[in-house]
Amino acid sequence: MAEEVKLLKSWSSPFGLRIVWALKLKGIQYDSIDEDLSNKSPLLVQCNPVYKKIPVLIHNGKSISESLVIFEYIEDTWNHNPLLPQDPYHKATARFWVKFGDDKVLPSIWSAFIKQGKEQEDAIDEAIENLKLLEEQLKGKKFFGGEKIGLADLALGWLANLVPVFEEIIGMKIIDEERFPSLLAWMHEFSQVAIIKESWPPHDKLIIKFQALRDRHLAK
């Protein structure tokens, strides 16, 4: 049966990027459409009427939205190169850290990025507490998934991609060598994987985009 896999994403969104990584790691052929989020396509609105957000995976005409839901769908549909461990307990642990990344790490780092002054200091403190937990999880491991990249690595991969951009813009280091040697080693290791590297959005473009976003937030 001819498989038709389409991914609606944007050029810079880490949520779309993590799905690109998952599809590539599984060697799944797909077409991608970069959405202009200021002018959403009828297809996007039709395929994700609840949130009208990317990413959306369209597989043989059926749409799946929300990146973590898409991850699980990909894992359920294409069994080879599993991203989750077989053992239910280890699977639960991976899912826990995926959720922690999205529920806690991401908002705290985003807060640290878009704020200034005392508010920023507090946000950075919170981000550091969250990152310390990730550092502990990584100790002695090459990836969160062990020897191979797993779901938690893909879900947290935005750290490798975006934190250097944020740090450059705010002129402050959040993930430093002294406190986070394992996390930095992981970010480096992860970035060097060919499939990950070749999908990286261009650094300069990201700087411009996120600088503008920060400026807009500070102006509010």
Partner: protein, 220 residues
């Protein structure tokens, strides 16, 4: 049998813990429930969930699993031969996960704003809650349960909140049944099942407790 020991760190009024109880009952799993004091957390809870220090926590053969949706999937995978919660078709699974995530993002926070809020804030929260529940009603459609003929993942995720409806309605001075009659019919169908009836407290008990809870949370 000692090496199959299942323990649930529990709190009677938590919809998140109720989900786990329904799932365990659906699958006929024997377990020990350990009621926790959320205002004076036990060493056991802190050790079992060091990251969030929250219930529910499932402890199976000495290993802790945290986060209710992660726990539900764990239970479904380990005890896969009885009353499956998630369907086997990947697309159906993705839809159940998508709507469970939708409930997760919105229902608890909005419900809380309704029963603890005042004035304009409360009115806005009430509108949002009804909108949310109407969306779920739409998703249910003509089905007996979200899972089809039997209760499934989404039913288990959503039904515990129905024990809080009386509390939302009384504090908010409105009727959920008037706006979402089909959802209330669904809730009654669920309550006909022993697994649900034995896991959800009587809504009046929760309402009575809400006065004390407001004091404990420092809400006027």
């Amino acid at each position: 049998m000692e090496d199959n020991k299942v323990v649930l760190l529990d709190w009677w009024a938590s919809p998140f813990a109720m989900r786990v109880k329904v799932a365990l009952a659906e699958k006929g799993i024997k377990y020990e429930s350990k009621e926790q004091n959320l205002f004076n957390k036990s060493q056991e809870l802190i050790e079992a969930n060091p990251v969030h220090k929250k219930i529910p926590v499932l402890i199976h053969d000495g290993k802790s699993i945290c986060e209710s949706l992660v726990i539900l999937q764990y239970i479904d995978e380990v005890w896969h031969d009885k009353s499956p919660l998630l369907p086997s078709d990947p697309y159906q699974r993705s839809q159940a996960r998508f709507w469970a995530d939708y409930v997760e993002k919105n229902l608890y926070i909005t419900g809380r704003r309704v029963w603890t809020g005042k004035g304009e804030d409360q009115e806005v929260a009430k509108k949002e809650l009804i909108e949310l529940l109407k969306t779920m009603e739409g998703e249910l459609g003509d089905k007996h349960f979200f899972g089809g003929d039997t209760i499934g993942f989404l039913d288990v995720v959503l039904v515990p909140f129905t024990s809080w409806f009386y509390t939302y309605e009384t504090w908010g001075n409105f009727s959920i049944e008037a706006e979402c009659p089909k959802l209330i019919e669904w809730a009654k169908r669920c309550l006909e099942k022993e697994s649900v009836a034995n896991s959800l407290p009587h809504p009046h008990k929760i309402y009575e407790y809400s006065f004390e809870l407001k004091k404990k949370l420092g809400i006027e």
